[in-house]
């Protein structure tokens, strides 16, 4: 397959993605995380059918980079609100704490596992452990949205699930800035890790502020595209050239826009629909990047990391059932629901893969992919059961049209 044909294929996929977000009647169809596109990419990729060979996949690296960074921007812009409702600060703190806890569980497991059972040097073990933790720390908000829309859920537990899923992006997005600033090759070399982290986030904040100023008093949707695209591409490219984390830069940019722009709702309404059209090709490419032919110790490490993630999430659920009223009595199910992960975890793995291709990146991408599949298998079902037990949905009664009572985003 040549590059143009592949590009056309990706555009068709984007088109499908845009239909998925645009059509009212088909919401709730497809998988919450888009895992099917990840699998499709894997099947078409060099590992299985080789319809798309490795060099072709690698020639699309800029597309992946831009896609991943755009997802960061979308997540940043939409971070503070679920639909029209702001996410309360305590829930942001709670979500960050839960993400950090799970990340720590996974990182510690991977660190010790890799130290003892893999031949990787120590610096790579640290990089692997830290990034694996970040990949596993996200809960995709699409999973919550999918269940809520499909079953017409409404209530405090649905709200909590939507809020924590939404707020879970902050920890991996910002922590990735630290990991990338720490990795060898990060520029400027004269700066410390802290300095590089500040450059990563500062770049995003400066560009976000610039975009907010340029969007000015009147919001002109058509003309705003140039500004948003220009600033995000500049931030992405600048961070990538410095070997820092473009995802973190664009997330910071989106968050700055959400905080300082008077047009935050317009911007969110404008760019949120682009998420699926961007996400699906990125997932397909991620699937094609996946290398499952890893040494056995690394495959075992991936399985161990998954086990640590499950245990971490279940522990979080149990902890919440003791402290958060809506979760009382449904802690295990709620913990299981937080296993759903998607765009951000894969984006983190892809960002690492672009920055440092090799066996560590392959392991991380495989971990992210397995995480998406496992989350898809366990997450939505757990959330449905939790919501049913909490009395916020009637068990096994999916609704056709439940747009009006969505607690999650529009």
């Amino acid at each position: 397959m040549n590059a143009i044909a592949f590009l056309l294929g990706l555009l068709v996929l984007s088109y499908l993605g845009s239909i998925l977000v645009g059509g009212r009647t088909i919401r709730g169809f497809g998988l919450a995380s888009g895992a099917e596109y990840l699998v499709l990419g894997f099947v078409l990729g060099p590992q299985v059918l080789s319809v798309v060979n490795r060099s072709l996949v690698e020639s699309f690296q800029p597309v992946v980079l831009v896609g991943v960074s755009w997802l960061g921007l979308v997540l940043g812009v939409s971070y503070l609100r679920v639909g029209q409702r702001p996410v309360p600060a305590p829930r942001v703190a709670l979500s960050v704490a839960l993400s950090a806890l799970v990340s720590a569980c996974v990182s510690a497991t991977v660190f010790f596992g890799a130290s003892y059972f893999s031949p990787l040097p120590r610096s790579q073990v640290i990089a692997l452990a830290a990034t694996a933790g970040l990949i596993c720390s996200e809960t995709t908000r699409h999973s919550v949205r999918w269940v809520v829309e499909r079953y017409g859920a409404k209530g405090p537990l649905a709200d909590l699930a939507a809020d924590t899923a939404r707020a879970s992006a902050l920890f991996p997005a910002f922590s990735l800035a630290i990991v990338c600033a720490w990795l060898p090759g990060a520029a400027p070399p004269a700066f410390s890790v802290v300095g590089r982290v500040l450059i990563t986030l500062g770049l995003g904040m400066v560009l976000g502020f610039t975009a907010a100023l340029l969007l000015g008093r009147e919001f002109r949707r058509d003309e705003s595209w140039g500004i948003l695209l220009g600033t995000s591409l500049l931030g992405t490219g600048a961070a990538a050239r410095l070997n820092l984390s473009p995802l973190s830069t664009t997330f910071a940019m989106g968050l700055t826009l959400a905080l300082v722009s008077r047009h935050r709702d317009d911007i969110k309404a404008m760019i949120t629909p682009t998420e699926k059209p961007v996400l699906l090709p990125v997932l397909l490419l991620a699937g094609a990047y996946v290398n499952a032919k890893l040494p056995l110790p690394l495959l075992v490490l991936v399985a161990t990391a998954m086990a640590a993630k499950i245990l971490g999430r279940v522990f979080c659920g149990a902890l919440l059932s003791l402290t958060a009223k809506p979760v009382k009595g449904v802690g295990l199910e709620f913990g299981g629901s937080m296993l759903s992960c998607g765009a951000l975890g894969v984006a983190v793995a892809l960002a690492f893969s672009i920055r440092h291709p090799g066996v560590v990146a392959d392991t991380l991408l495989l971990l992210a992919s397995v995480g998406v599949l496992l989350g898809e298998w366990l997450g939505p079902g757990s959330l449905r059961r939790a919501l049913a037990r909490a009395g916020e949905i009637k068990p096994e009664t999916p609704t056709e049209d439940s747009q009006s009572n969505l607690p999650s985003e529009a």
Binding site: L11, S14, P62, L65, E218, E223
Partner: protein, 455 residues
Amino acid sequence: MSGHGGSKKTASTRAIQAASLLVTFGVLYGVTRLTPELETHLGTVAAVGFLLLAGTLMSELLETIGLPHLSGYLLAGIIGGPHILHLVDHHTVTELSPVNTLALSLIALAGGAALRVGTLRSVPRRLAWATLIRSTCVLVCVAGVFLAISSFIPFTHGLDTKPLIGVALLWGVLAVARSPSACMGILAQTRAKGPVATFALAFIMLSDVVVVILLASMLMLARPLISGSGGISLEDFSVLGHELLASIAVGVTLGLGLAIYLRLVGRQLLLVLLAIGFGLSDTFAYIHVDSLLAFLAAGFVVTNLSDQGPKLLHSIEQTGSVVFVVFFATAGAHLDIPLLRRLWPVAVTLCASRALITVVASRISSRLADDPPMLKRWGWSSLVSQAGLALGLSVVIVKAFPSFGEGFRSLAIAAVALNEMFGPILFKFALDRSGETDSGAPEVRPSLPPAPATK
């Protein structure tokens, strides 16, 4: 941007734009100084962002002194390009060539979509004379001027007479190209109504088609002259005829398909245009179809055989507002400044002679067609502007003749920049003097962004 041709900008808005422009240059300047040797795909991403943002801001700022937006895009590219600040390197400029493909397809689609049968029918005799006289005179006379001053043009040194004639003919074709979107932009801004405005739109759109056919013919004619191998036979014309017919047939099919899509689905036109621009351009090249002519025909069919023309134009406007900025800014970055330093007297001479020949040819054709006095006097004014199409033709010529193509393109960009700078100003002046503008009415957004630019 808070408006291309929209509401008036305050001083604080301009100050914000200037500060943002400094930030844009500052960010990439800092990054390229910290990582100077990077020539990978990653540099391309930053460059696209920079060219888009800096081009847009520069055009807004230059608007305050009456310069067209295209000048701003070009200037941003020139300053950020490999010869001045080196924020965008040669490798990146080469990597951005797919943007050219996309921009050209959008320009051709928009040009076709703006060409209405009704407008053509209203002035058929004038159009016929004007097309014949103006195109022929400009082609032949400008080629003659090119030949006359060829000793001052570095990239023609060492060429024998025959190849030189070939290059001069190609330059003549380039001189025939005009700027439909500059014309449309000025007409939309001024809301001009009258013989000069109506005729300008009809003639320039038609000349789009003419210049595409002329280029195909001249390429065929110039190839044996320049390469020195073979000659021109009737078979070549037969091939050209087939190619043109095939291009129109494919374009009509595409246009019908687009019209049906617009009517039945009408959504996600951005993705559809991207797929058409990237995918079909390559396919057309593969099956030896002239993509410019095919896209022109497609746009023409959508406008004239369905009621979906405005929707298509609006979608192109949305997509183009980003693509055209990058296209022109990349053209600016591509500008070979050292060569231009040597060429500027040549560029000025060629532009001045083109303008002069255009005025004389217009007067002759107006007399032959018995045009109304206002058209006799100002009919030439819309024909000076050049932009996207001329640059696109130069890209085609570069591809066809890589041995001298880069020098040709640099001179073309220099000439187009001059024409684009002064052309829209002349056209607006003429419309004002002929009393066809409604200066009291509020400005409206032009039908194609950027306002006085493109094609």
